[in-house]
Symmetry: C2
Subunit: 330 residues, 2 copies
């Protein structure tokens, strides 16, 4: 018999299909990866093609040119110019699509796999995330900032060159509002931060932990919505990623490289998304919310049941997935 | 500049990317469809292979055998046997995976496209939906029933033979709970059913209507989450699909065939999911909720931004999509 598990943070029920669960090895990517060249003449993110992107908003230079660049998204969903204007009329609720949409070009090398970046390079990228996150929130039109990465076609990327994105929207997404509310209810009930409590319990139980360092805990959630869905929780309570310290940046870079490498080596370079889920910077002192990173390998496909219910069917056991990832060496 | 629109029923914000919106014709499926045979020896749903499925729970017979069959899902996510047992322990919340999971085999013909079924056949299928919906709710372990269809690989189907599914879960999905709450708040505010009000407004505005018959209104929602996302609303207020009358079944069959045919001919047979969103049968008299059908062509792909925010980027204009579909003749 399968087991339904409730994710207390997202309030989503997940059907853990224990009976037809596959072994962790069965989730290895079967598709042969094509050889990717180091440089592509037509790629707007390759060195020499800087004029193909809108004007840089941030750059890390080195003796040979640049190591990383940030540029506005050329095909932006959200416009950087214009006023935030609301319309409330009958059942119409709209707001102009203004805010921030940036691309973080992570390396000059077209064929670099993010899992294979050096620790120093990963640390630079996390530093850039912090810089752009704070900068985006300094725009008074921005209500909520999402930093995310799409790796591979199955994860929805349209450009092969390694990059991540930041979108600052003029409204708060309902999904985030719901998480805030769930965490607030838990705090009302218990006087504790739900995420702090969850980290504590996971550390006690050990069975879903993938890795741990001084400042971060990497684990598969009890109600993981899909195979190898992984969370990285900061151990220090803080509601906003913008609050991250220098020592924590180093450790987050390590934790990120660690889990991406384990996925790369253990599951043969699967497509994945990751996202930083954080409260807005000005509410960084909120007692009941706690920022974290969510990594979602795109191993299974959502169909009508998932779209129609918001429930997921997971054909892996979180405890087995965690054990498998713990053992992957690289 | 793009426009963010709030869907009052789902509370989701959608970025309508008006500037880079494509024309409706540009969403036509480019992939060539392979020829599908009328009969496949190894298909468990083809006539002659009835022994390959678990025992039938419903059948519509004709002189040549059967026209439609309902069977338990052989690879069920939810088990039909066993007790509903809850566990509440620390942060653990689980419930045994018991309930109902059935497959509705819609036709003996392996290669029949659902859009090309006759009106009479579609009517039989809607009748089966009603029968199985009521039957599922007669199981005291079932808290919520979803009826859905996955058409095509891109919509997550694993079997080519035309079929839909019913899953009765032992808990209510949070996505449905959220919709109930949003509708209840609207009722508190206005004394009106949100869906009745929305149908009224759409009829007045006309610009997003695709079709209308005596009992149903087919339209593209103002904040459609993806291109050609379509809703079919019953005109008569009722919280539960199980309440549908004989005359309404006829009209729903017509409305379903109409929109599926428009998608088939207008967009070259796209993959899609549809789902019946309904309250539980015993709460069918609820004043503030109203059942409906949602059809989601799988034309665009969710990436990190959608997963991380629950917001969607729609590169089509709902008003243009509706105008395009209105004009598709078949």
């Amino acid at each position: 018999m399968s087991e339904l598990r409730l994710n207390l943070i997202t309030r989503e029920w997940v059907i853990i299909a224990t009976e037809r669960a596959k072994r962790p090895e069965d989730f290895k990517t079967a598709a042969a990866r094509k050889d990717i060249p180091r440089y592509v003449e037509t790629c707007p993110f390759c060195p020499g093609n800087e004029a193909k992107t809108p004007g840089e908003t941030f750059r890390i230079s080195d003796a040979n040119g640049w190591k990383a660049r940030v540029v506005p998204n050329k095909f932006s969903a959200i416009s950087n110019s214009g006023n935030k204007e609301r319309r409330v009329d009958g059942l119409i609720r709209s707001v102009t699509g203004v805010g921030v949409h940036e691309v973080i070009i992570e390396t000059p090398l077209h064929n670099m796999n993010p899992a294979l970046l050096s620790l120093e390079e990963m640390e630079e990228i996390v530093k850039i995330y912090k810089n752009r996150f704070l900068e985006a929130y300094s725009d008074s039109r921005v209500e909520h900032v999402i930093i995310f990465k799409n790796h591979g076609e199955g994860a929805g990327t349209s450009l092969e060159h390694p990059h991540s994105q930041l979108i600052g929207t003029p409204v708060m997404p309902v999904q985030f509002r719901d998480r805030l509310e769930a965490a607030a209810h838990f705090f009302d009930d218990t006087g504790e931060c739900l995420m702090c409590m969850m980290a504590k319990k996971e550390k006690e139980e050990k069975i879903r932990i993938v890795a741990e360092d001084e400042h971060f805990l990497t684990f598969i959630p009890y109600a993981a919505l899909s195979p190898f869905h992984t969370w990285i929780f900061p151990k220090r309570h803080s509601a906003s990623f913008g609050d991250i310290t220098g020592a924590e940046i180093k450790d987050l870079a390590f934790s990120l490289k660690n889990i991406l490498s384990k996925l790369y080596h253990g599951l043969s370079n699967p497509d994945y998304n990751f996202v930083i889920r954080s409260n807005k910077q000005k509410d960084c002192n909120l007692e009941y919310f706690h920022w974290y990173v969510s990594i979602i390998p795109r191993i299974s496909k959502a169909a009508g049941f998932e779209l129609g219910s918001g429930m997921y069917i997971n054909t892996s056991l979180p405890e087995e997935s965690a054990e498998f990832l713990r053992k992957v060496r690289f």
